[in-house]
């Protein structure tokens, strides 16, 4: 009798979890559809653009990864693609037990007029602060406040210096929390996963970052200049 009860409870818990997961996913898709509608954007549960093919470091992390809930459209003539990205990392302990940890992000990709060397801009974290204290510096700028708040790395330090002028520096300090990557003709802005209706935050971050790219970048890095 007791065994049967345990089996029934087990089936109910597993079944409940499946049903809950199904409705949670359905509700999230509905929220995405509503958000896309409010923005005047199109929506797809899957990735119609092969976004993982873009050359960003974020899309190389983990042992497996995926893109879902993609919305796309135009703002002020700028092509915008916003989406959810996740990756997982497998690990195992000494007893051979394996576990899988997922990380989720809300992202936006916008195009640039010039081909950019790989460059990343992110808030300083615990490890990068420790690195700084030990003398391992990323690209340093004139403002010590900025150097302490943000870490900048680039395959071409001159590009990074031209990119982060006083105006861009101030904007980044006023909008801490977002991560940016530039590579080829693309800019990626991302942060921790948000609710669908809050995706506008990362879209605005990408759009404003794009607006703050100095004109000198266009003049110096456009092919043939």
């Amino acid at each position: 009798m007791a065994v049967a009860l345990i089996i029934v409870i087990g089936v109910l818990v597993v079944g409940g979890a499946i049903v809950f997961g199904y409705y949670a996913r359905k509700r999230r898709i509905q929220e995405w559809q509503q958000t896309a509608g409010h923005l005047g954007f199109q929506y797809s549960t899957e990735d119609p653009f092969d976004l993982l093919g873009l050359p960003f470091d974020l899309f190389r992390r983990g042992d497996g990864r995926g893109v879902e809930n993609v919305v796309w459209g135009q703002r002020d003539g700028l092509d915008i693609k916003a989406f959810e990205y996740w990756y997982y990392e497998d690990s195992s302990d000494a007893q051979g037990h394996t576990s899988r940890d997922y990380s989720h992000f809300s992202c936006t990709v916008v195009p640039t007029a010039v081909s950019c060397p790989h460059t990343s801009i992110a808030p300083e974290g615990v490890f990068s602060r420790l690195g700084r204290a030990l003398g391992f510096h990323d690209i340093e700028f004139e403002s010590e406040e900025f150097n302490k708040a943000m870490k900048v790395n680039s395959a071409d330090p001159q590009f990074a210096t031209y990119l982060v002028d006083a105006r861009m520096m101030q904007w980044l300090l006023d909008n801490k929390g977002w991560h940016f990557e530039l590579c080829g003709r693309w800019v990626l802005a991302y942060g921790g996963r948000t609710k669908p209706k809050l995706i506008w935050g990362v879209i605005e971050a990408a759009r404003e970052f794009h607006q703050h790219i100095p004109k000198v970048i266009d003049e110096t890095y456009r092919e043939g200049s």
Partner: protein
Amino acid sequence: MIGVYIAAGVVGLLLIAFAVSYDRFVRQRNLIKNSWANVDTELRRRYDLIPNLVEAVKGYAAHEKEIFEKLAQARADAIAQAGPPEAQARAENGVVSGLRQLLAVTENYPQLKASQNFLSLQNELTNTEDRIQAARRFYNNNVRAYNTRVQSFPSNAIAGMFHFQEQQYFEIDEAVARAGAPQVDLAPDTGTP
């Protein structure tokens, strides 16, 4: 015997660290030279622009002779300057002062300000100022990173041994007020990934 191996290992590690540090100083010094060459290129763009700008203003304000002569002299002094960045900066500030006076004069001539040729030259000057400032920032960032190593322990020991001396920063004013600068228009491509 183990003590000898440990001592040899420590000496070997110290020699490697020494070589790496020395090589980094050489790379940084070369980077400073290259970034200074960039600054120089951008400054020359501005020198080339000045005669055209003066000619455009002369067409409307020929009697402002003193300002033209002062700017021409400052430009000649800056071109002739082959000294360190500090001396170059002093010479450039003379050019900047002359350019500011020239641009201030144009305020009195609405026809000149509306001239397509003048507007195009002013736009070119703004772009050149942006390029000078960007090149200056890169040069100064490289100097800062290098000077920090020249001053910090333990790299200061190698700097002292091989005469890696502190480099000068390059600080100049901007001739064109940023408020009057054209808006940034980085037209995006609309392709899809």
